[in-house]
């Protein structure tokens, strides 16, 4: 059943309850095949860590990942016991230069690592899920199979099979969602009568229970959220001013008898991470001078621009800087603009 | 006085919607039509809101709110549908 050269294993790890048993299984597999194979058996434990965590905003994430890897290495050596020479243990952080977002991104990074170290078999922890709430494993495994690797789940007992909804939600998230829905209901109802309060509480309760684990995927951090909100209040007048300018410009272009447009698709890599800032930036770009976000994949924005001057404004990076200021604070606003980063006017398609 | 202003504005919005209807009819591609429908839909929301203020019927604002939701869902659903052929979100 086990292929001849299966002594070289790739084991992606992340914090999970079944990790310990997965490590034991992987070590056992590698050791069994160590004798049959002509090449040295080895296990590579890798921790996919997206760039968004390594870029200063959450420095402790990299430390946590490293300490998890160290722990895994210790476990593996424990399992090998006296046979420590038979199997070689390696650990690595991967993906730290990239923005990992979809299962495809993770698969890319893992497959590249496997090729670089000529690993041909991947053992997955069934609870492996660095993305949080979104199910990652099945599509990830399919992608890796397509790339020609042997993929299997470690046959470990899941300690608990908790329902998906309760898995990640915290009480704070539940309360936040409940409060928002309840408030919205009362605004629509327009009164504080007992009837409205009761029906509102029931509806908000249903919404919060059903969408608890869906709508808020990251833990709430009240302090940070409040700061972001305050900076957002600063951002809105700026955005409105930009929108007003943009509209006068578009109005001029549209009403001009000659229709002086020179539309072009341009692409650039934005220096923002994680879904919410990217959404904000994409929407802001769409609303301001002659530019329209067409597609965003990872960090690459595809922008349709109406006139030459709108492209100038886009690569000047003022908006991008403002969005970074809102979500990451003042220090992040000093990252160079897209033009300075690329040294040219972006690549045109 | 305010009522008259709002009524005239509502009439003007209906007028611009008719221009949008030309684009819905002319096409030429489906996304063109969807964009035009989106514009007309936004105009309808605005007209409902303006009328709600003009004739003093606050309940109509709820209708406008629901219509705005539907208008947004329509665009998203059609673009999703046209890309993934039946795959929903």
């Amino acid at each position: 059943m086990v292929p001849v050269s299966a002594g070289r294993l790739l084991v992606p790890v992340s914090e999970s309850s079944t990790l310990r048993n997965t490590v034991a299984y992987a070590v056992e597999q590698a050791f069994e095949s160590a004798g049959e194979s002509d090449r040295a058996a080895s296990i590579h434990f890798v921790f996919p860590l997206s760039e968004r965590y390594t870029y200063g905003t959450e420095p402790q994430a990299a430390d946590e990942a490293q300490s998890l890897l160290d722990r895994v290495a210790v476990w593996a050596e424990e399992d090998l016991g006296d046979n420590a020479d038979a199997v070689e243990i390696e650990t690595a952080l991967v993906g730290t230069e990239e923005y990992l977002f979809s299962p495809g991104d993770y698969a890319d990074v893992l497959v590249r690592y496997a090729e670089a170290h000529s690993l041909d078999r991947a053992v997955f922890d069934p609870e492996f899920n660095p993305l949080g709430t979104t199910p990652l494993l099945p599509p990830l495994e399919n992608e890796m199979r397509r790339a020609g690797l042997d993929v299997e789940d470690a046959p470990v007992q899941r300690s608990r099979r908790s329902p998906l909804l309760v898995q990640r939600g915290t009480v704070a998230q539940f309360l936040a969602l409940f409060a928002a829905s309840f408030g919205f209901y009362l605004v629509l109802a327009g009164s504080l009568a007992t009837f409205e309060l009761v029906t509102g509480a029931i509806s908000a309760g249903i919404v919060a229970v059903v969408l608890w684990g869906v709508s808020l995927t990251t833990p709430l951090r009240p302090g940070r959220t409040v700061m972001q909100f305050l900076r957002l209040l600063l951002y809105i007048p700026y955005l409105l001013w930009e929108i007003a300018k943009a509209n006068l410009q578009v109005a001029y272009v549209v009403l001009h008898p000659d229709l002086p447009i020179d539309p072009k698709m341009v692409e650039f890599d934005a220096a923002v991470w994680s879904p919410l800032p990217i959404t904000t930036l994409a929407n802001s770009i769409t609303l301001t001078p002659g530019t329209l976000t067409v597609d965003v994949s990872k960090r690459q924005f595809m922008v349709h621009s109406l006139t030459e001057s709108s492209r100038e404004g886009l690569f000047g990076g003022a908006l991008e800087r403002a969005v970074r200021f809102v979500f990451y604070g003042r220090a992040a606003a000093r990252i160079p603009s897209p033009r300075e980063r690329s040294g040219e006017e972006g690549e045109e398609t | 006085m305010i009522d008259q202003i709002l009524l005239v504005a509502a009439a003007a919005f209906v007028g611009t919607s008719l221009v949008g209807v030309y684009r819905i009819a002319a096409g030429p591609t489906m996304p063109d039509r969807v964009i035009a429908i989106n514009v007309v839909g936004s105009n309808v929301v605005i007209v409902i809101a303006l009328l709600a203020a003009a004739i003093g019927e606050p309940g109509a604002l709820d209708i406008a709110l629901v219509y705005a939701l539907l208008n947004f869902l329509l665009s998203i659903a059609i673009s999703k549908f046209s890309v993934e052929r039946g795959g929903v979100l």
């Binding site: 072009k264 | 305010i2 003007a12 514009v39």
Partner: protein, 104 residues
């Protein structure tokens, strides 16, 4: 005319103007991407101005909050919808019009 009336008049007139720009853009622009420009930007500003007029006309009532909610909602969803449609067209392989192409 009271100040409120003047404010409502100015906002409503602005809303109508930008909505008109959106409609003219929709008709005159050569391809769907450029049309999406007019629908996303001008239409959004038109909607925001008109709904601001509505909010002010209601004075201070619950309806004002609703009008503001509607305003915020339009402000968030209009560009998103335009983005969704253009993205779908881009993935279908519709090429954007450029100045090298023939006249619109």
């Amino acid at each position: 005319m009271t100040p409120t009336e003047i404010l409502v008049l100015v906002l409503a007139a602005g809303g109508v103007f930008f909505s008109l720009v959106a409609a003219v853009g929709l008709v005159r622009m050569p391809d769907l991407y450029t049309r999406a420009h007019s629908s996303s930007k001008s239409e959004t500003l038109g909607a925001v101005l008109a709904l601001a007029a509505v909010a002010i006309a209601f004075g201070t009532q619950l309806s004002t909050i609703k009008a503001v909610l509607l305003l915020v909602f339009m402000f968030l969803t209009n560009p998103t919808a335009a983005h969704a449609i253009t993205r779908a067209s881009a993935e279908q392989g519709i090429e954007p019009w450029t100045t090298e192409d023939d006249d619109p």
